[in-house]
Structures are given as C-alpha cells and as structure tokens.
Amino acid sequence: MAADIKQLEKKYVGKEVEFRLLRFAPDKDRAPYFQSFRIKLSQGMTVLDALMRIKETQDPTLSYRKSCRMGICGSCAMQVNGFPKLTCQTQVTELNTDKPIEVRPLANFPILRDLVPDLRNFLKAHESIKPYVIREDAEELDHPTGEFYQSPKELEKYLQFAYCIKCGACLAACPTNATDHEFLGPQALAAAYRYVADSRDQGLEQRLEAVDGPNGIFRCHYAGACSEACPKGVDPSLGIQLLKREILKYRVGAAHKKPAPLAVTPKGLKRREGIPLPPEKTVGQ
C-alpha cells in the first residue's frame, strides 16, 4: 500500500494539469464560458485544493463555495468532468489528468457566479416538506418531559436518509429535474421519507401538501441517478419509492401509525460502583 502511494506520488506530484473552469459574472457576461488554468499537482490534492490554488495564485476573482473541506458541509458539490461530486472528496489523481479536467457548477441549478449554483429553490423544496418531527401531542414537543422511545430497528428504517448533507448532487443528476424545474427533487422527497419513516413522527398528512402535488413524488420514474451521485451513500430513489408506498397505504386507509411513546426510565436499578453520574437533565425539569 505504502509502495502504491509512493508510486502514485512519483507519477503525479509536480505534474502540470489543465483545469477548464466555467466562468460567469452576471454583471458583465452574456453567457457562461470556459477558461483554462494550468497548475502543478501536489501530494493529496483534491479538486477543491486545485480551485483554491488557482484562486490564490492565478485569479482571485474565481468564485466557488466551500466550507468544511471534509465532506460534511455539502457546500462544494460541482460537476467534475460531467459528474456531480463533492470537490473536497475528489482526488485529482482519480481523474484522467492527461486531459483537461472540466469543472462546472452543479447541473439543473441556475448559476449565480462562476462555480456557484443558486440553491434557493432547492432549500425551499426542503423546507416545504417540513423537515422536523411532527406530533399530535404538540405540548410534549414544546415542553418535553422525557425522551421518545425508539428501538434500533426503528432507527434503521430512516437512518441512512438522515445522513443527507444537502449538497444538491442528487438533484444535479436527476433526469426529471433536468426537464422539469418544478419537480420537488430527490433530496426533498428522500428527506420527507426520513421523517415519515421516523417512529416518533405523525406528519405524513401535513407533508402531502408539498409531496403529493402535480410536481411532487409521482413525477419520479426511478432512474436511480440520484442514488449513484450521492456522496454520502444515501439512496434517495429508494426513499422515494418507499414514500410512494406510504402515501398509497395512507390513501387506501391502511396506514396505521402509533407514534413512539415516551421512554420509561427503569426503576429499582442501582448504579454500579465506579460509573460516573450522567450529565444534568436538559429537559423535563
């Protein structure tokens, strides 16, 4: 392994690579165009590192979004050689460095400037599905007296969908979004399933307003491109199909959901010696 890395370093470090970046300044350009930059690769360089190098050394006006640089914030998703990727997680050596590497803003989004997509509608779609636990016992939510019980099996039902970082890569890959800009999109729909599948939630009916409209879930044809594009291993197309099932079950009156009850604190148990006390309660005081 170490030998492999050494060999890779020998092959790539110091190699000059061409990046073709999409440029667009709405105040002066009529249409986007490509501009080429050449930089020397350094060890472990990601596409985002390359963009930062270009900005620092060649063109300080280059615009892109980034924050955490470790695949968690979801800000730096872009089209790299035509595929939506988190640029902070994409090593330049993974790509064909003998040809120019093309970087554009995420597809299916309007461009704000250079590599920065306009995420407003995307985030509005996410907001429209009410991405939080909804329950009939609102009093308990507002003034909690304890925690809701949820078994590991119940958690498994939605856990993978909770890993979404809202990077927008799935929407950029979605063929329905490419031709129908009103379509709610895989991220919002998978997020809706994340809450519908949560045993603590009772909000399916409230989410139908956004999800079950003419531009909602039934426009998805299960192309599966979203699941392939997701850098966090979420499977939005699976979530969408499961949500369709939940909605149809609800429509035919077969959706019976008892929300998770409050967890009962076991009584009569004694603390073993040497185990520290739990932190102070933050709810139910």
Binding site: H181, D212, P214, N215, I217, L248, R251
Partner: protein
C-alpha cells in the same frame, strides 16, 4: 384531486387494460380461441355481430374509460416533465385534458351503446 389518487387510478387503469386487451388480443389475433374465425373477424358482419352482444358491450365500456384515462394521464405526465412549464399552465393543461377526455368518453360510449342497440 391528489396526485397519489390520480396515480393509483393510472395503475388500476393499466391493470384493467391488461385484462381487456387480453380479451381483445384473444378475439382479434388468436385464431379460433373464442370460436371466431380469424379470417372473418374484421368483416362488417363480425364487427356488428360482436357489437350487439352484451359481453362485448361490457368489454368496450370498460376498455374505453380505462384506455382514455391511462393514455391522457400519461400524456399529462409527459407534458409536465418535458416542457418546462409553470404551475398555472399545468392547471390549464389538466383542465383541457379532462374536457377533451370527457368529450371522447361521451362520444365513444354513444358509439358503443348505439352499436349494441343496433
């Protein structure tokens, strides 16, 4: 009406189509399956003879709305998904499709019933 209800009808219409088109296929294209001679199945007397039978009245009256609904809902989906149109225009397209579908349904049902009554 909610999209899920429309979609459910679309699936049900698809299932109905599979069944009645099966009957159609058997009668029209599989020689002698229902005791009908393949060679004469399209002659005027065969067509009018079938139209006058109660069994075919029911088959056609089921086939017509199922085919219309399945086809027009599919057309609506295609228009929505491939034409970059906004929500207001979508509503109008739905209305136009409902109106034209109802027109075809009334006209088709009239033809079927008239054929049955002779």
């Amino acid at each position: 009406m909610r999209e899920s209800t429309l979609w459910l009808f679309h699936l049900l219409a698809g299932a109905v189509l599979l069944t009645v088109l099966g009957v159609h296929y058997g009668v029209m294209h599989l020689s002698n399956l229902f005791g009908i001679d393949h060679a004469t199945v399209l002659s005027f007397s065969s067509v009018s003879g079938r139209s006058g039978r109660f069994f075919y009245l029911v088959v056609y009256l089921v086939l017509l709305p199922a085919a219309l609904y399945h086809g027009l809902y599919g057309l609506r989906s295609l228009i929505f998904e491939l034409s970059f149109i906004g929500l207001v225009l979508r509503r109008w397209i739905s209305r136009i499709l409902i109106l034209s579908g109802s027109g075809f349904l009334i006209y088709g049902a009239y033809a079927i019933i008239a054929g049955f009554l002779g």
